[in-house]
Amino acid sequence: MVAKRLKPLLVAAFSLGILIFSNISLAQGDHGHGAASGHKEEEKLNPSEIILDHVADGHEFHFGKITIPLPIILYSPERGFTAFMSSAFHHGTEAHNGYRLVTREYIEEHKLNEGQEKPLFEANKIYAVDASGKPDASISVLDLSMTRNVVQMLISVILLIVIMTRIAKKYESGVGVKTAPTGFQSAVEPIITFVRDEVAKPNLGHSYGKYMPLLLTIFFFILINNLIGLIPGAANVTGNIAFTAVLALVAFIVIMFSSNKHYWAHIFWPPVPLGVKFIMIPVEIMGIFTKPFALMIRLFANMISGHIIILSFICLIFIFGAMNTYLGYGTSPFFLALTVFIYLLECLVAFIQAYIFANLTAIFIGQAFEGGHEHEDVPGHEDPVVI
């Protein structure tokens, strides 16, 4: 009897203990990383720089003190191709092979943007250096490196191909066709059936089969990149506007290719009263472009804001800690609990955003080739009213 009532209390005490003890290692990790980024003078906490650094693309993976350097591939019309590992830059403290990673501290130290109307040098970009070691912004450098985002995208592509081809081979060999699905099949089949029945069929009607590969790819690729991006230390791929821009561009091209003449007729001559027609025509023309644009912004903003919120809560611990060490330790369980809650919310948002992107793409494609109903509403064809 006593043990029964004690159990919830034990669970609560256990989770609280885990929270309190888990914060110490996290504090070490982030603090260590801050010191390892090469500050010579006393380190002043700069939360916005930390957050943006974690959310933006970079030339290496870092988890606390462990850094995994990635290849840097540069092309300059004057100098040709150069390739080396990013560890050669030593976090921007050294120039290598005629190039330098210019950091914010370097710009401030050497006053590179002094006296310019528009800043000539941006932080965290690679510039060519001349023989004396001074960065030269006039030599154009094309940064084609395998950055964090590229490597993570490749990993998720390989993961998706491996998982999906294995499942497909299993189905081909007969497992799960007339029997119950097993293994990975039982995880993926409900999702594929969901995309087919809730996303493709209602919006695309009879020709849903043509668009199933596209919708499934969009859904799974966004989902797997969202989920991997949530792992601490991984890159923020879906929160990168270039990535979402390409996805939106793909959706836009598919919509354009599946449009029929009813679609264009409705855009340039919408079936509305005359006065409204002339307002609707520019709105509809803009609508062709704003719909994929909104797709891009929605996914980008949701993902990046989620990452920024999680990072902000962790940075809050350090902001409080900078004021007073004990205040930092004291508020950390609370902020950690808040972070865990937001983290779980972000896991949900990962699924929701993948579903929304796929669903809206299906809706827009469906809108592009539907049409022709109005000509079918001839008197005499109404549904009979059964009293």
């Binding site: 903003a301 804001s305 955003q353 929304i356």
Partner: protein, 79 residues
């Protein structure tokens, strides 16, 4: 004129933050109304819960998309 220009660049990040806050109000009201409609509909017809839930999530994501567009605009003002 110069002072006005300096004042506006100094106060720009603050205005960006106010803009983002207004976007949050918009999102709160929007998603709240969606939730209200959805919960009332479920109360009227509990067997339609699954359909209603799907539509609610879709509508909420669209509203959040617009709100996050405004939040990104606020962020651009700060950066």
């Amino acid at each position: 004129m110069n002072i006005l220009l300096q004042a506006t660049t100094a106060v720009q990040p603050g205005l960006g933050a106010i803009g983002a806050g207004l976007a949050a109000i918009g999102a709160g009201i929007g998603v709240g109304l969606i939730g209200k409609g959805a919960v009332e509909a479920i109360a009227r017809q509990p067997e339609a819960t699954n359909d209603i839930r799907g539509n609610m999530i879709l509508a909420a994501a669209l509203v959040e998309g617009v709100a996050l567009l405004a939040a990104v605009a606020g962020l651009l003002a700060v950066l």
